[in-house]
């Protein structure tokens, strides 16, 4: 049965085997990024978010401070002509979300954080899940995930003009800086609009596609306040305020879809679309219960904006993939750090809810 080859042929065979295995292992290492130290990985992006004192262990790596809400999304049916997603059919669907501050520090004082956000999940009876993560500025600070990574690394730079250099290299940043410098602050999560910023593609029943961006527009009266005045209200005022406000009355946001005109950028969330676009109000988010994050229903949810129901899909906006991969990394990390943020541990007296 056996036909032993010569020792020369054996050596050639062994060499061929070694070369095959080495090539396989090298290909695997290449694809995994171990041979590409400059590849921007989700780990690098998430690590860059950490403040100098280190990440808030057990918490989201960004938008680390937040509070849970539950309520309903009342769809008025206007969205059904644009998308076959069941959340746009007239009806009332369970909503779950999280109001938060755009900071990596879970203990940041409210008035030190310029950007606020909302994570939202809408589920429909057919089992479809739609998750969103939105922020209150009407534009993203930078045009690409790579630029965002650079921005995060500016504070670590040893160059004295690092921020100036960054702004010069990324002119879109000026639009955001102007918003940050001039937009009024408010003393309530309920008074903020939350913008999806990234473009998505709606698919209707006929398969026709339309590009949209969405926003949740507050129905509460907006009362501008200065950041100094907000600071005087206390470091955790926003959470205290939303607890009290929702206990008195449900809070509402109207979901508005803005349809792109031909030529509008679908891939660059740092550029707001000009006025005059068709806007369709598709329903109202009604928040009727607030719960502390520690044991609240939003805690274990990754508000990954690429988790979409049938009828909505991602556009060519590169932030969507970058956010999805980084959010997953953040979730993997924080779920492994639960001992630093345990459930059902009585909060020490005087701490925030």
């Amino acid at each position: 049965m056996t036909d032993r080859p010569s020792s020369q042929a054996t050596l050639a065979g062994l060499a061929l085997i070694a070369a095959t295995l080495a090539a396989g292992a090298a290909a695997f290492a290449y694809v995994g990024g171990w041979l590409s130290p400059h590849r921007l990985t989700p780990t690098k992006l998430v690590d860059a978010l950490a403040p100098p004192s280190g990440p808030s262990l057990g918490h989201r790596r960004n938008h680390a401070k937040g509070i849970c809400f539950t309520g309903v999304f009342n769809a008025n049916g206007n969205g059904a002509e644009l998308s076959r997603a069941s959340a746009f059919a007239p009806g009332e669907y369970p909503a779950l979300g999280r109001l938060n501050l755009g900071t990596a520090n879970a203990d940041a004082a409210d008035a030190t954080v310029r950007v606020r956000g909302m994570g939202l999940q809408i589920t429909t009876p057919d089992g479809a899940v739609w998750r969103m993560a939105m922020i209150d500025p009407p534009m993203f600070p930078v045009a690409t995930p790579e630029a965002f990574y650079e921005l995060l690394r500016v504070p670590q730079s040893k160059k004295p003009d690092a921020m100036k250099d960054f702004a010069a290299a990324h002119p879109e940043f000026a639009t955001f800086a102007a918003w940050a410098g001039s937009a009024p602050w408010t003393a309530s999560y309920a008074e903020e609009p939350y913008h999806g910023l990234d473009a998505f593609i709606l698919v209707d029943r006929s398969g026709a596609e339309r590009v949209v961006r969405w926003s949740l527009l507050p129905q509460a009266q907006v009362v501008p306040i200065t950041d100094d005045a907000l600071a005087k209200l206390g470091p955790n005022y926003l959470e205290q305020e939303i607890v009290q406000r929702v206990a008195k009355a449900p809070q509402q946001w109207v979901m508005a879809l803005t349809l792109a005109n031909a030529g509008d950028s679908t891939s660059n969330p740092s550029v707001p679309w000009p006025e005059g676009r068709r806007v369709v109000e598709v329903g109202t988010l009604v928040v009727n219960k607030i719960e502390a994050e520690r044991d609240g229903p939003c805690r274990d949810i990754n508000f990954d904006p690429t988790i979409l129901p049938d009828g909505i899909r991602v556009s060519d906006d590169p932030f969507l993939a970058a956010r999805s991969s980084a959010y997953a990394k953040s979730y993997d990390l924080r779920t492994s750090e639960v001992k630093y943020y345990p459930y059902q541990q009585p909060a020490p007296a005087g701490s925030r809810p």
Binding site: M1, G13, L21, A25, T41, D310, A321, S325, A326
Partner: protein
């Protein structure tokens, strides 16, 4: 026909080579997707989930087929340690082919992620949300993937060793093409 088969059945060989392509693709997609933030992350993730379920179904079919048809015997003159390694590695393959997709499915369930495959097919959660389980399953899925790849390299090395050095017909028993040119086939 009571003579012992010297080759796996055509169905077994078809399953073997189809799954070989799927599993290699799966492992490369896995390490590729977790190391990138580029737009390809989204289709890679969707493919990883879908292909994982395809592999799970194929592996269960294959297990049934294997239990029904068995396997041709290894050459009698193969040293015992190599026979043992061959047998153990095949158990490991079945454990991983069935276990890895289940670990991934369970991991996503424990993370409260909806599990949606290509074509909009939704799978139910097989575990409730749990931080501890998510972490355990994530670690298992991650580290076993490297174990799986190492096992495949060993398997390829051993197969080529049989083909190129021992020339004992073991490779031909699972060869993708009818090995009519193989003098060791013995049929």
């Amino acid at each position: 026909m009571m003579t012992q088969r010297t080759k796996f059945t055509v169905l077994q060989r078809l399953l073997h080579w189809t799954m070989a392509v799927c599993i290699l693709a799966m492992l490369f997609i896995g390490v590729g997707m977790v190391s990138t933030i580029m737009p390809k992350y989204i289709p890679l993730l969707a493919t990883h989930k879908t292909l994982g379920i395809v592999i799970l179904v194929l592996a269960l079919i294959r297990l049934g087929v294997r239990l029904y048809y068995g396997a041709p015997p290894l050459p009698e003159d193969l040293p015992e340690p190599m026979k043992l390694a061959a047998h153990l590695s095949h158990y490991a393959f079945y454990v991983l082919m069935i276990g890895m997709p289940l670990l991934g499915w369970a991991m996503l369930s424990a993370g409260a992620y909806p599990i949606v495959l290509y074509g909009g097919l939704r799978l139910p959660a097989i575990l409730p949300q749990s931080d501890a389980l998510h972490t355990l399953l994530w670690d298992a899925h991650f580290y076993l993937a490297f174990g799986f790849f190492a096992l495949i390299l060993m398997h390829v090395g051993a197969a080529l060793f049989h083909l190129l050095v021992l020339r004992d017909g073991v490779f031909a028993s699972m060869a993708p093409l009818p090995a009519n040119a193989d003098p060791a086939a013995g049929e």
